[in-house]
Symmetry: C2
Subunit: 548 residues, 2 copies
């Protein structure tokens, strides 16, 4: 059999647009004389459709679109992810399904068995699991079709290995010629390696070739990387789809006998950069915007955000705004301007001193006799937010917010101030990763000014301030952050890893107390196994305090 793996970029809710993408891929498959065109999980609705699934009409429209697609099929088969109804009267009302369309009809339908309900996933909120897994017979071949998580019950791969059924194995035991997995599997750093190892191990163990078709593109917090795969029955990766790009990957029978021929491996920094760039581009465009703006402080976070935005949208669609105060160093102002010059983006400088003085003056009757403190520091950040949002409203550009994961963790950021914006580009990047990525950006030529990389990081909200007045070194902070937030280690365990007890206690306390800021933060692009946002659901009014 000859296949086409259609690694497509669905937009959530755009049923007509997604159907058109499917048809385009299908027509290529027909022209090439292939047997089966395979599309990703929930390709018709986009993934994750979330509570759009609770609208009966939305489900109806997806079913009608499936019928229309079926009507347009000929001798080439088309495998499409969609939402179907559970009409049994028991259990949840929907299934996460895949249909085989052929010669004008819906020939077969299969449902997802393993429904991820952890991290960013809520599938048991919507779907009933399949009760059994049967192969599909098509063109004298036996196909074992599964959906995403169905392939992830493998005790060698840890965390999700507690499911009680193994759909892939059930199908393989029934004697399949090919296992096919259609996915909408979001990316995080390290995912490609885990996914390839898992699928390779499964194919080899079950002695069956496996085709894996994954979605690509950004939808809110999630970036789907594509990276579709063909794995031989020997477990070798025979063919890889591109990362972070749409692609029609044609798979002819000889592939399965070839030596494995892998793509040039991307290094971590390049993967992260491409994920962020795709996430920005798709969020901005899928929300209906063309351009973005952002504050440029001369610091590294806003510099890296600007570089990502220019890669995603082009320099002409990015505008940088410097808003210096009396506490802004000349170096920072120079760095902001130099960055804008390097990137070729529109650049404005709007000093905030007079506005700040005016607001302080307004508040002087109620602040009478009180010293300046964090209230005045935040006020500067919030005034900058007012200016940027004013420009966003006036010019119809989306404001990007530039904070990193380290500062979002400990609350070293101002709610309604530097946290303003529609998308938090770096909010899942620890500060040390912001440095690594920035150095990678500068690998061939200096884009981010050297002094931005070398000067001590500072919020510049009071005289001679640096981040390390309030925080430990970022190497230490980020290690504690990883242990506490990502790995769920206890305070005691972190201390026994070799970190200072007082520092651990303080950082954990800051992380816990600043949940209220994160609850109101912009959606941020997920790049690690545990991002703040919908994948981490912590109460605000809670008193659990883990102490070393």
């Amino acid at each position: 059999m000859k296949f086409l793996l259609a690694q497509l970029n669905a937009t959530v809710g755009d049923i007509a647009g997604n159907a058109q993408l499917i048809l385009n891929a299908y027509h290529e498959g027909v022209q090439e004389g292939l047997d089966l065109v395979v599309c990703p999980e929930l390709m018709l609705t986009g993934y994750p459709p979330r509570d759009l699934l609770l609208k009966p009409k939305f489900v109806d429209e997806n079913l009608a679109a499936l019928q229309r697609l079926a009507a347009q099929t000929s001798g080439t088969g088309l495998l499409v992810g969609f939402v179907s109804r559970n009409d049994s009267g028991e259990g949840r009302e929907l299934y996460n399904s895949v249909a085989l369309l052929h010669e004008g009809n819906i020939k077969d339908i299969r449902h997802k068995t393993l429904l991820p309900t952890y991290d960013v996933f809520d599938e048991e909120r919507y779907f009933e699991p399949a009760l059994a897994n049967e192969p599909i017979f098509f063109k004298k071949h036996t196909l074992g079709v599964t959906i995403c998580e169905d392939a992830w019950n493998d005790e060698d791969f840890g965390v999700h290995g507690r499911y009680m059924t193994n759909p892939l194995e059930q199908l393989a035991r029934k004697g399949c010629d090919f296992l096919i997995n259609v996915s909408a599997s979001p990316w995080f750093l390290g995912k490609n390696r885990v996914r390839q190892s898992l699928l390779s191990s499964q194919a080899k163990r079950l002695g069956t070739a496996l085709l894996y078709c994954n979605m690509v593109g950004g939808n809110d917090e999630l970036v789907f990387d594509g990276g579709s795969l063909v794995v031989g029955a020997d477990g070798d990766i025979k063919l890889e789809g591109k990362l972070f790009q749409s692609q029609n990957l044609i798979v002819n029978p000889t592939v399965f006998t070839l030596e494995a021929k892998k793509n040039h491996a991307l290094i971590d920094e390049e993967k992260i950069f491409k994920a962020l760039s795709l996430g920005v581009k798709d969020y901005v465009e899928k929300c209906g915007f063309k351009s973005v703006l952002l504050g440029l402080s001369g610091g590294i976070d806003s510099a890296l955000t600007a570089v990502v935005a220019v890669d995603a949208l082009g320099a002409s669609n990015v505008r940088g705004v410097a808003m210096p105060s009396e506490f802004s160093s000349q170096g920072s102002k120079d760095d902001a301007r130099e960055l804008a010059d390097h990137l070729g983006i529109q650049y404005d400088e709007i000093p905030i001193q007079s506005g700040f003085e005016s607001i302080k003056q307004s508040l002087s009757p109620v602040f009478l006799g009180l010293k300046d403190d964090v209230a005045e520091e935040n006020m500067q950040a919030r005034l900058r937010g007012v200016i940027l949002m004013g420009m966003s409203n006036k010019f119809g550009s989306l404001l990007l917010t530039t904070g990193n994961k380290s500062e979002l963790a400990v609350g070293y950021c101002t709610l309604y101030g530097d946290m303003c914006g529609g998308l938090a580009v770096l909010s899942d990047l620890p500060k040390t990763m912001v440095y690594r990525l920035s150095e990678w950006v500068n690998r061939h030529q200096v884009v981010i000014p050297v002094s931005t990389l070398t000067k001590p990081p500072s919020a510049e909200l009071r005289p001679d301030q640096t981040d390390q007045d309030s925080l430990p070194d970022y190497e230490i902070l980020d290690a504690i952050l990883q242990a506490y937030v990502v790995d769920h280690r206890s305070a005691g365990e972190i201390v026994s890893m070799g970190y200072d007890q007082a520092i651990v206690a303080r950082i954990i306390r800051l992380i816990d107390l600043n949940e209220y800021k994160r609850r109101q933060s912009a959606p941020g692009l997920k790049v690690t196994t545990r991002a703040f946002g919908m994948g981490r659901r912590v109460p605000i009014a809670q008193r659990y305090r883990d102490k070393p």
Copy 2:
């Protein structure tokens, strides 16, 4: 058997504090010579603990606290909700459990079977369901113990009636003397009636008396109302716990033979007011604050919010701030001051004109030649946000935000402006309900100035503005909001209910497009069956547009 239903107010994560509340109730049960003290679902951890459950040490500490509680029990039994581990190696790692503690030991443990995973609930994210339900034998009686949702599989009560097992029925068929349901069942308007009907119908159908012990108190968005119940085998409600208050409800055997003696029924407005007041009080105090502040515009939303805050925290802990601009009418300024006088709260007036002019001046180079528009309107709201957050930071008071559900739905509010605040008190109240509740507040004497209730609502961000310049009448808006957001009706269905096609199309479009604002809104107290927030999960970058 004689029981005590301990209707307690748990704080999420405060295991030691919750254990103390349990012990206090237990000691009363011992002193009264009762047989069994019953506590709510997950009383040891508080509900909902959400991702605190992913911390192994948190689960350990809850288990250790249960052991300590057990060690303190004597001849009186103690039924406690807690989290237990699933050590089978299959399925999720935790159970939502209840333990019977007696004479120093953990005598029995039962697990929850039906795990709500809809609306605000995420229980399948954490818990494995019980596979079977067995009665507990205690003091020569057979007790059928279930947890919350386990009692809710009843096809007469609609939406949740698709479960495949019925734990209550399974237990009753095994011949129980009493059915006991321990709950953490959050309140919404209408819940008490549904709950009483359901439990009454179940008790009668199964011919078994039923004791229902519910949690009380606010935790983030959720308010638990208590309202514990004793239902006779005839289906009559024999005894009711108080609403929105902690209570130790003693149930002696004669209750089951008495005529039903119901509490004085609260009217809707009183229930909503008490729910909001408890929600505010608990959020503020459980977050570690003592006082709040809020902006007073002279309008009805901020007035009602102030009344609720004073009820919750006392007048001395509430501060109102008027921030008039050139567009504020004298009437609004008078109304704000009069309200503060009536409530006896601290009142400040901080004009924003000079700050607004100063910010406009700063932006004049980039706004050169452009007309004033929504950017300048929002700027005023955001400047007020800067002032209020400055005061919040300076004085350590929590800022309450005052917007209602209608404006949050259509985005008639300013992100980082009037949306600033730690808790959105009225965000689940449609504007028409804000009026109803305000009139109820004024039922005995005028608290909210009469002109606040009678003048046309206005944001006062431009000359002679009223809400109805941009929006249909609130009666119409709220009906569309109910149909679209709460009931998931399609645009076509709403038009066929009798609403104007163009208005329906515009309102639905506004609701869809303003998801980005709601994603960054403060947590808001849930009072309807479908609130914005964690119970409604809609993507931002999505293109589904339902048109009439």
